[in-house]
Subunit: 157 residues, 3 copies
Amino acid sequence: MERMALWFELHSLQERYVSVLDNDRLEEWPALFTEDCEYGIIPKENADMGLPVGIMWCNNQRMLRDRVVSLRNANIFEAHTYRHMTSGLDITPVDADTVEMKANYVVVQTRANGESQVYQAGRYEDRVVRTAEGWRYQKKRVIYDTSRVQTLLATPV
Amino acid sequence: MERMALWFELHSLQERYVSVLDNDRLEEWPALFTEDCEYGIIPKENADMGLPVGIMWCNNQRMLRDRVVSLRNANIFEAHTYRHMTSGLDITPVDADTVEMKANYVVVQTRANGESQVYQAGRYEDRVVRTAEGWRYQKKRVIYDTSRVQTLLATPV
Amino acid sequence: MERMALWFELHSLQERYVSVLDNDRLEEWPALFTEDCEYGIIPKENADMGLPVGIMWCNNQRMLRDRVVSLRNANIFEAHTYRHMTSGLDITPVDADTVEMKANYVVVQTRANGESQVYQAGRYEDRVVRTAEGWRYQKKRVIYDTSRVQTLLATPV
């Protein structure tokens, strides 16, 4: 029963994460992280070799908020819509208020020309913690398989 | 606990919706809606501008049933198989028996030539109500991102 | 409440199945099946005609383990990463310890050149049984829509 409640709460967090990213509610995205969070986007080759070097690294919530502001102000990239699909949620409790979590993701992008295609696939490796506001990401590593990844001004994954 | 039960029931409804569409059980599809339902397929550009004008509109369950009969009789379109993937379920209770619900979808199509590809991406905006038979769609808006959408005799999304 | 618990347990089994396949933990894959399991990969055309003839058939857990050993030893195929997405889980209890289960799947593949695309779509038809170690697959039929399927030394689906 407790396992089921945890599973429900973590799925709900992931659903909310996907929902804010895909429905143009980016301003709500940083609030899903703790103040002292880490967020990184890393190619699979590096992650598999233990190298945490990626194309983006934020080490607190403020940097995530700044990133959203930049994205809103810099409308120089082509309009597009993302749909994040997730699967295979894997939960490893660390202590009563901390969980390590993994999942697959696939992002389907629709560009201004109206074509939809697989844009990126990969996995999430997260550490989530229980806070007064509910479960929040303390660490999120987005590890992408796909090597053709837009690095410039990309919206969060 | 109550939130979890609601989440379970709405996910089950969505799973059943996807299952009947993708496994050639179209005759069961209308029964997932109320008698007085609304079902529409609308391009994202229109929905974002507040225009509910789409490529299809049904305003009761009977129209959905007629549509299924038409599809079964008119075998003039190429055989294909759909697989609907969904994510990011977002639940907003309205009252004890009514919920507003959003979700992403991606449809992968396999055509007669055996090729599988992303056919359509978009979001669902639903109103579901509790009935004697369980939760049913009172309103479902399918808002598609992809502009190359087959409009003629298309199977439901 | 009991239905919800069953739904949770079967989703968890499916999530674990996807997680071991997609994260290079193939050695854990056979343990998700019973000793006397059946596992087959079958084209949709055959399945729809009631012909269980497919491109692969294993009728016990040992054959699944042998298969994993073969895959590990025979590194002659191009490196690639899979991400299995699933949807539409459909549960039919048979008795207290046996369930028939169906679901959709879509596999996105990223090849050595860094390109990600839909590799295969289809459905699972499973029989799962309750064991001392939890729910396990007694039978799993992978029924693929896509006709361009690699048959030689393919990793499990």
